[in-house]
Amino acid sequence: MAQMMYRDAVLSTIAEEMERDPNVVVLGEDVVGGMGTAGGPEAIGGIWSTSTGLFAKFGADRVIDTPISESAIMGAAAGLALAGKRPVAELMFADFIGVSLDQIWNQIAKFRYMFGGKTKCPAVIRMAYGAGYNAAAQHSQSVHQILTGMPGLKVVMPSTPGDVKGLLRQAIRDDDPVIFLEHKALYAMSGEVSDDPNFTIPFGHARLARAGEDVTIVSSGLLLGFCEVVADKLAAEGIGCDVIDLRTTSPLDEETILDSVEVTGRLVVVDEAPPRCGLAVDICALVARQAFASLRAPPQMVTPPHTPIPFARELESAYLPSTDKIEAAVRTALAWR
């Protein structure tokens, strides 16, 4: 085990997989940083420091700095993957999927099925998502809601450096397209990371971050940590919470959720995306359909409201889920029989 930051877990996993497999190729805007300038390649590197040093090590053919052209980046990832490579394409901000959506949605996601199972498309699309920096409506969004709804994509949302390592390695080795969502506010988080060069975490297996018998809290990404804080506080009052970290929203580990709710009878889903047609609704529906008899309270959702993300500090914090809102939802669930 090594101690490492979330962003370094991203970088080191990509570097290790590039070392192991010459088919792994990185592409994106400023992934080299400094191309065509006096400072030269890697003068600064990418804005998240998740590709630092790759260019020096693997060269321009495998670390491709692109102009601002998200549609072409995703299309090129699709072509690279169909032609036998393993592209790891970076979108600087998840919000920019808007520019490149056709290539992700109508192309990458559909090849395997639409071509009768004859092809694979092992593309990894990494992106930084999430709010908390007052970056306003076009640089703060959580996009798993949209992408999870698209058949053909695997969607991963790690909440710790250790999970980044296992899930990103799995993503790069996986033969299907994987959306890999990195929360901006987690990049500087430190944690234990496996140093086994073949450590992977299979998709569709949630992690039990806290165990308890009174309430089931389901979350992922940044907000998972908020749920742990609430669970620890309530534990001191003798209230036990299962905190389930989904890790992947597609495939979804239905079993872990249902098993937990069968014990607790109470569900709180905490999600950073807006409430309509999203992950929280999806999980509430799963539990209502398949664990109805176990429920002792209506499923609770903690999400932002159905609005774009506002800029001002006061507005963004009122918009976002918080530990107070999560605690209130848990107490609401407990107030039933």
Binding site: G34, M35, A38, H139, P305, F311, A312, E314
Partner: protein, 323 residues
């Protein structure tokens, strides 16, 4: 064409207001009081002002993430903008947008934009509306040397040519898109305008650090577009004095580059040398404007600090339905 004394003073004041606005933000951001991402326009003032001095409120502009200069030049209220950047509910967008999303449609300013390349097609739409209205108005879309590589820009240029939209594609080449040099990212090296030419547009090029170069070029461009000849494109070579965003260590720049461009390529110094050299204005005239601009910005900051903060209930204002 010789500008009147009033027109010269006005143009200088506009540039100086933008300069002081940005220099002040650069300082204020370091205190942590201002939230979010801020991209400063400092160094490029002659472009925004040289363009917008020709426009009426009926003409529309579409801006970028580096939008403060375009907004101020097009007539957005200084205090309203400062309050917006401070996140006040008295800001131009009630604190919902911030630096990257300032807009004032009443002034013909259709928005700064956080999505690089999103503005060009919007400009074509505004130009088509102007064509329908038939009053000779135009739309101008500002793009950088980075934004010019987006597919949206190419699609918009072709659509404008095909529809003969009175749209002007204005490229501000400040040599960098984030940390990448335009010589790497723009395949037609040193030349964005030639791309527009390939789409079938008449193009112009000018020195974006010289107000008179911009202003004279734009007179020709606007005469051409207002006369119903369809779209046109212009490329201005310019400089950005600060980092891509506030906090950028700028290690991609060459040694002494920032000092050199501040010394040699500062549009305010160049303007002053020109007008005093030609005895159109005196140093005292310009110093008075400097003092006035500084005061206006100081007042805007004081007002922004004191302006009302938004409340949690404001999150749900201006939606058509709340969930």
């Amino acid at each position: 064409m010789q500008l009147s004394r009033e027109a010269l003073l006005r143009a200088y004041r506009q540039m100086k207001i933008i300069r002081e606005f940005e220099e002040r933000l650069h300082v204020e951001i370091q205190t942590g009081e201002i939230a979010g991402f801020t991209h400063l326009y400092c160094g490029q003032e002659a472009v925004a002002v040289g363009v917008c001095e020709h426009l009426s409120v009926e003409d529309k502009i579409v801006s970028t993430h580096r939008g403060h200069g375009h907004c101020l030049a097009k007539g957005c209220d200084v205090n309203g903008m400062m309050a917006e950047i401070w996140g006040s509910r008295e800001g131009l967008c009630k604190g919902k947008g911030g630096s990257m999303h300032i807009a004032d449609v009443d002034q013909g300013m259709l928005g700064a934009n956080g999505i690089v390349g999103a503005g060009s097609p919007i400009g074509v739409g505004a130009a088509l509306a102007a064509k329908l209205d038939g009053k000779g108005s135009v739309a101008i879309t500002f793009s950088g040397d980075g934004a010019c590589n987006q597919g949206t820009t190419f699609e918009a240029m072709n659509l404008a040519v095909v529809t003969k939209a009175p749209c002007i594609f204005l490229f501000e080449n400040n040599h960098y898109s984030e940390h990448t040099g335009f010589e790497y990212a723009v395949g037609t090296q040193r030349d964005i305008a030639s791309r527009a030419e390939a789409f079938g547009m008449k193009v112009w090029r000018g020195d974006g650090t010289d107000f008179f170069s911009v202003h004279d070029t734009m007179r020709e461009v606007l005469d051409y577009v207002r006369a119903g000849n369809g779209p046109a494109a212009v490329e201005f070579d310019t400089e950005r004095f600060f980092g891509h965003f506030e906090g950028d260590p700028q290690r991609y720049r060459g040694p002494g580059e920032l000092d050199r461009i501040r010394e040699m390529r500062d549009c305010l110094k160049i303007f002053r040398a020109n007008v005093t050299g030609a005895k159109l204005l005196t140093d005292a005239d310009l110093d008075a404007v400097d003092k006035d601009a500084l005061e206006a910005i100081e007042n805007a900051v004081v007002a922004a600090r004191a302006a009302a903060r938004p409340t949690p209930a404001d999150v749900l204002a201006d939606v058509y339905i709340a969930y």
